[in-house]
């Protein structure tokens, strides 16, 4: 009896809820209208009866019968009951047979059963009446036949019901349509995500020209898919990179071993072949390790272990580490380290970044030149700069050098992972990397630590 399809169920739930809401609302409105109408009708009767009492009290005793007749004659709808009783309760004149008993201590108006004398074919009738004493000991009964009043109310009730019926139909119809629309929107998201899971990452949700909150959600999902797609593309690119970068040296390695085995005559020559192969394998492993490290750094999870780091100390250690290497290459290493405030970071990663910059400066700067490492405090935070006297990286290549395996100069040894590693480390720290406009200088800018 329940639809098995969750989409139909969603439609029914949404539609049912909306319809129920609308029905309850119209019922409440009708009930209020009904109650107000009833109250207003009762008030009209009371006011009319009270004014009769006032009128007869002011009418001289001799003219009351005449006035009563006059009023009955004017009552063409035959809905009025009027009667005068003397002090002993005997009927003087009127259109009922006898005086009803007023409820003890009750309000002046009450509902009772009367015996009409001037309504043909009617022995008893229910009426709303008031008994009021008049000056001179007489008593006036004034009242309204409730048949007519009830008839009027019944008509109003019918009108309300007839009005409600199309309302109900509308409510249910609208509820189902709105529910279906909502279920369809949700289902559209489901279908797209299903296709994404199936591997089609280019799928996007439609966004209408005048977006509502659901479109906002859709646009967020689209943004998420964009990010996912670029990440996947990135991973694929890394895979391609690795395959491409490893295939060449592997081919070379294979050829070398093959030739070595063919040509080596004694153990010493074999040893030389094996040693050369080992060096190349180490280089290959180095490439794999560096790539893995870049991926790992891009994961940004390591931030959790950040601690306060003194970049001046790190820069000084990097200088210390590279001084002999620089001297061997005939490069003067000048370190102008000034004390700086602590920054949030990972000392081992930061020295790796600075070491890579230093390595590049020593390798690519002019021989006999000078490489300068400076740390200084600025308004934004701490700046570590590594500069050499070379031409620097041409502005057009600055984005390229951060990409994996990009080598600005083919004449140098290396696999072109250094700067992309620096970039990954800097990004992970949310630091900035800045190339000087003129000359060859790279700065690492660390925001001051939030205290």
């Amino acid at each position: 009896m329940f639809p098995a399809d969750p989409r139909a169920r969603a439609t029914l739930r949404w539609g049912g809820a909306i319809a129920a809401l609308m029905i309850v609302q119209s019922l409440v409105a009708a009930a209020i209208f009904w109650a107000l109408l009833n109250a207003s009708h009762a008030r009209d009767l009371e006011q009319s009866m009270a004014s009769d009492c006032r009128f007869f009290a002011l009418t001289p005793i001799g003219e009351r019968t005449e006035e009563l007749r006059e009023m009955l004659t004017r009552d063409i709808h035959r809905e009025r009951f009027l009667a005068l009783f003397d002090a002993s309760g005997r009927l003087i004149d009127g259109n009922i047979a006898d005086r009803p008993v007023a409820p003890a201590g009750g309000s002046r108006a009450f509902t009772t059963t009367l015996t009409p004398t001037e309504l043909p074919g009617k022995q008893r009738d229910v009426a709303r009446v008031t008994l009021c004493p008049l000056p001179g000991g007489q008593q006036l009964l004034t009242g309204f036949d409730l048949d007519d009043a009830e008839e009027a109310l019944r008509i109003a009730e019918h009108a309300l019901l007839i009005g409600l019926l199309p309302g109900f139909a509308l409510a249910i119809g609208f509820g189902l349509i709105a529910g279906r629309r909502a279920a369809r929107q949700v289902d559209a998201v489901r279908q797209v995500t299903e296709r994404v899971v199936a591997g089609n990452l280019a799928e996007r949700l439609p966004i209408s020209h005048r977006p509502d909150s659901f479109d906002l959600l859709s646009s967020h999902i689209n943004t998420m898919l964009d990010r996912l797609q670029s990440l996947v593309a990135d991973v694929r690119a890394v895979g391609d990179d690795i395959a491409h970068q490893l295939r060449t040296p592997l081919t070379r390695l294979r050829a070398r071993i093959e030739r070595g085995m063919r040509e080596a005559d004694d153990a010493r020559e074999f040893q030389a072949v094996a040693d050369a192969a080992l060096v190349e394998i180490d280089q290959l492993l180095g490439i794999v390790a560096a790539l893995l490290r870049i991926r790992e750094l891009e994961d940004h999870e390591r931030r959790s272990r950040f601690a306060p780091v003194d970049l001046a100390q790190v820069a000084a250690d990097a200088c210390d580490l590279y001084r002999p290497t620089a001297e061997d290459r005939g490069v003067r290493l000048h370190c102008a380290i000034t004390p700086v405030t602590m920054v949030e970071g990972d000392a081992s990663l930061l020295i790796e970044a600075i070491a890579n910059l230093l390595d590049n400066a020593i390798k690519f700067g002019p021989k006999g030149g000078c490489v300068t490492v400076t740390t200084r405090q600025s308004g934004d935070g701490v700046i570590v700069t590594v500069a050499d006297e070379g031409a620097g990286i041409p502005p057009g290549e600055r984005d390229l050098v951060m990409q994996r395996f990009y080598r600005g100069r083919r004449d140098c040894h290396g696999v072109g992972l250094g700067l992309s590693l620096v970039r990954a480390i800097v990004d992970m720290h949310r630091f900035t990397l800045r190339f000087a406009d003129h000359g060859s200088a790279v700065s690492l800018i660390a925001p001051a630590m939030l205290t």
């Binding site: 893995l292 290497t325 070491a355």
Partner: protein, 225 residues
């Protein structure tokens, strides 16, 4: 000779490790599963554990944690193909004493094993005499057979580190970690250049070389005679 238990499921890797360690004079027993290692643990404690992380019947770190909980103080070297540094921290936190990501050079493994097996001489000593070498750590001076060595502070630290571990393989990454205090792999031979300079100062012409290069990966400090 030390007794080493190796828990590693890959047959080829295990054989290579065992061969290399035996070549360095150690007794190696190999267990492919955590269950085997736990059973063996009842027969007494080895001098060192080498534990792979991803094993067919569980996580190597859990094995270490269980042994630690049972009161074992045997040093443990964790091997893993999960090379990320967070894994390294987890490995050390779980009770491992050192962590070596795969792929590693065998010489690196041997160096780490020796570093764990041999506790260096008392680091509070201010005077270190090894063979002809005499280091005065307080004054920051060093002599070899009476000849004063003109060492920079960093060179003295390097020499001290090597001299406390005679006969033991010390790799570049161990030197970077323990002498400079950073864990990273520099992409050029900066550490070798430091050692080269130190060696020229320590091993003069005609003297027996005390600092020996091991296949480009590490160094051994030899005491002549």
């Amino acid at each position: 000779m030390a007794h080493i238990r190796l828990i590693e499921d890959d047959r080829g890797t295990a054989d290579e490790i065992a061969l290399e360690l035996r070549r360095n004079g150690h007794l190696v027993t190999h267990y492919p599963l955590i269950g085997d290692a736990l059973e063996a643990a009842r027969d007494g404690e080895p001098d060192l554990l080498i534990v792979d992380r991803q094993l067919p019947d569980g996580e190597g770190l859990d094995l270490i944690a269980r042994l630690r909980a049972a009161g074992s103080r045997t040093p443990a070297l964790v091997l893993s193909a999960l090379g990320s540094l967070d894994d390294r921290v987890r490995g050390l936190r779980a009770g491992g004493d050192d962590y070596l990501p795969k792929p590693f050079a065998l010489v690196e493994l041997v160096a780490r094993v020796e570093a764990l097996l041999r506790r260096p001489s008392d680091p509070r000593e201010t005077r270190l005499i090894v063979g002809p070498l005499d280091l005065d750590l307080l004054a920051g001076s060093a002599t070899r057979a009476g000849r004063a060595l003109d060492l920079l502070p960093r060179e003295l630290k390097l020499l001290e580190y090597l001299a406390r571990r005679p006969g033991q393989i010390v790799t570049r990454s161990l030197l970077l970690r323990d002498v400079w205090g950073y864990t990273f792999e520099p992409n050029s031979n900066v550490v070798d250049v430091h050692i080269g300079r130190l060696r020229r100062k320590v091993d003069a012409e005609g003297e027996a070389p005390m600092i020996r290069n091991v296949r480009g990966q590490g160094y051994v400090f030899d005491v002549p005679g």
